[in-house]
């Protein structure tokens, strides 16, 4: 079994991108930290031949669901997402428009897009994580990409045209 440090080095950046896409840049660091702490605890029991990416994304997915539920339970009325959040210029907020466009997707599409395009998981693995069939995961990702293309890319081009 490889030292856990190597797991963090190899997959930390991927999990960070997935967390930013799924829970948004503000919550991403908490989600990342909870994911890797949970992974560290469970790591000695992980099967030798296990797919580490899929295992980490599975944990991150559960943490994202927990975070969403916790946010829903908070008494304050959830403010609507700003139409177009201003970029602060910090690298961790890189491309706020993209995260905002992802946030506007239905949860299943957002997860399918992130797990396939940012984590590189095949649709069968994604279906095992999110529930549903492989075909449904593939459709969710395709629908999500189509919407992102219509919202985010259209907006970007509009911005370039100005």
């Amino acid at each position: 079994m490889r030292p856990f440090e190597q797991i963090v080095a190899d997959f930390g950046p991927m999990v960070l991108r997935v967390c930013r896409a799924v829970v948004g840049p503000d919550e991403a660091e908490d989600a990342w930290s909870e994911t890797f702490l949970a992974a560290l605890k469970a790591y000695p029991q992980l099967d030798d031949g296990a797919n580490v990416e899929a295992w980490l994304v599975t944990i991150a997915h559960r943490k994202a669901i927990d975070a969403t539920r916790a946010a829903a339970r908070r008494p304050v009325a959830a403010g609507s997402l700003p139409e177009r959040p201003a970029s602060t210029g910090r690298p961790e907020d890189w491309d706020g428009d993209l995260w905002a466009a992802l946030a506007a997707l239905p949860a299943k599409q957002r997860a399918a897009v992130a797990y396939h395009y940012l984590a590189g998981l095949p649709y069968a693995e994604i279906a095992a994580i999110t529930g549903g069939t492989t075909d449904a995961a593939r459709r969710a990702a395709a629908d999500g990409i189509r919407t992102l293309r219509a919202t985010y890319l259209a907006r970007t081009r509009e911005g370039e045209g100005r």
């Binding site: 660091e29 590189g120 985010y152």
Partner: protein
């Protein structure tokens, strides 16, 4: 590692940075602190620069468990710890700061004895007894392998005493370099004969 970026998504995600080093470093430090606080950082490690090269230092919650010379291979030492102690291993310097400080003092001749907890779980049985004895050989002194064997109650186990020294998981701090051949020549050493000669010279000054 966006290895699977498919053409249809490249225009969407292709410009995302592969690495976000500042954030990654911050998150790594946060993970190490949380792991230590929750008691799941089984092995913490760091490297430290010394006149004998970069040493790998690793500690369990009980104490210093491994010191590895560059020639021994830091990755090999970490792989061995993952197998024999626990794979819950993180680059987490905090636990090693005190050892690193004392090593720095030792190499600059401001320290003659190490005062840090040591975890000898990687050495069993006779080897463990030998290492326990080595810790009593004072700074600047030497013993022969035969003397070490005799001191542990097995006067004929001279070769085994040599093996115990050669497999010392925490060289320098457990001073196997103070064990030399009966004719006074240095003999073998985990960090190589030159390292051993350097340590004996340092302590003789």
């Amino acid at each position: 590692m966006m290895a699977t970026m498919e053409p249809e998504a490249r225009d969407l995600f292709g410009s995302l940075p592969e690495q976000d080093e500042q954030v990654t470093a911050r998150l790594h430090a946060r993970l190490a602190a949380a792991a230590a606080a929750e008691g799941v950082l089984d092995v913490a490690y760091r490297t430290v620069d010394t006149p004998l090269g970069a040493l790998l230092l690793a500690a369990t919650e009980q104490g210093l468990v491994r010191v590895a010379y560059p020639s021994q291979g830091h990755d090999a030492a970490l792989a061995q710890l993952a197998e024999l102690v626990s794979p819950r291993i993180l680059d987490a310097p905090g636990r090693l700061d005190e050892v690193a400080r004392q090593l720095d003092e030792y190499f600059s001749r401001r320290r003659r004895a190490f005062d840090v907890p040591v975890d000898l779980r990687l050495s069993k049985g006779f080897r463990y007894s030998v290492l326990t004895h080595l810790r009593q050989i004072p700074y600047g002194a030497t013993e022969s392998y035969a003397q070490v064997a005799a001191a542990t109650g097995h006067p004929r186990a001279v070769r085994a005493a040599g093996t115990a020294c050669a497999t010392n998981p925490v060289p320098i701090v457990v001073p196997c370099h103070r064990v030399v051949r009966s004719d006074g020549s240095p003999g073998g050493y985990a960090g190589g004969p030159d390292a051993k000669r350097s340590l004996l010279t340092l302590e003789a000054a």
